[in-house]
Symmetry: C2
Subunit: 190 residues, 2 copies
Amino acid sequence: MHGEIPPGEALTLRGIGKAYDVSMTPAREAVRRLVAEGALFLSSSGRVSTPALSNERIEELATLRALLEPELASRALPRAHFALIERLETINQGVSQVIARHDATGYIRMNLEFHRTLYLRAQAPAMLAMAETVWLQLGPTMRALYGRLNRTEPPYHHKLILSALKAGDEPGLRLAVRADATQGLRMLKG
Amino acid sequence: MHGEIPPGEALTLRGIGKAYDVSMTPAREAVRRLVAEGALFLSSSGRVSTPALSNERIEELATLRALLEPELASRALPRAHFALIERLETINQGVSQVIARHDATGYIRMNLEFHRTLYLRAQAPAMLAMAETVWLQLGPTMRALYGRLNRTEPPYHHKLILSALKAGDEPGLRLAVRADATQGLRMLKG
DNA sequence: CGGCGTTGTTTGTGATCACAAACAACGGAT
DNA sequence: ATCCGTTGTTTGTGATCACAAACAACGCCG
């Protein structure tokens, strides 16, 4: 999810087991779970690797983010008190710091934490789980995409999200979240 | 997914293995996968059962259907040729037959086949997979809900969907699909 | 020099086992 | 009669093993 593994990298059950100091059995169960969520790709011969997503698949996942996340944000809005907005602003400052460090994994992690912190207030666990499944599938790809993006500034849409939250502007919040979710997509064509 | 197992029913790895004539190992893997998709519930002690969904959770899953399925239908619309509509009408007749037979499982199966047949045309595998995950989570509950519903007629919204498809009416299609997806929800309050 | 078969190794699969935790049934004490 | 402790059974977990398929490297032949 955090882009620690590049797309298309092969994994072995024995290797995973060794990395976590367990036998093949727990490694297999974890892999099967991640395959079920689409986070790992299982070839017809049973080998597992991180998915190397096609452009069509990436667009589809971006569409899913654009469908799910505005709904989550909208549901979180009535419950977003000042303490939450303050936490979001703190996280957003952290995003600026990892950008300065050119830390791709850190950037992805902080960005997702920003979104998750907001969506947790939506009190919609099934919907949040779906959104996280999408993030999981996009993880390796986001890391690869981050390389093309030479970010120097913190994400613009996060500021829009914060002001919409403060203003209680539901349509504006939906728009800002949607834009932020699909923002990374633009790099595909280039 | 088809409601063959009522909500809250306990399953054992050895029992599943015996039912499919395999050892515990493949049964465990299958169970872990289904747990990851939310189709089965894993208690803190490791026992597995079909989920007994709260009303809030059911409403959430219905919302997810209402978000995902109109989008799938909309994407399928431009590719929906006459042969597809004909197939959908055939399936819909099958729905009428299982209703006459008071066959809950058959009804759910046919109903989902109707939707899946349409959505397959959307060429959006990730989105369809998400919709099917929702169906999977709702399976046992839908069976329980079917008991309260004394259907004598084929689903009204399916006809609306078919006419919207024939007319190429995209907004009407979205509305009809959304209504059909959330229709079963109304029985909750009663 | 390149294509292809062969061989040795890696890898996933399914079965089995020992173990500990959880559960259920029973019995005794209050 | 009810509560609680005890005991026997059920159940999930993780490890290990045998096996077959897949892969990769090498060498042979054209």
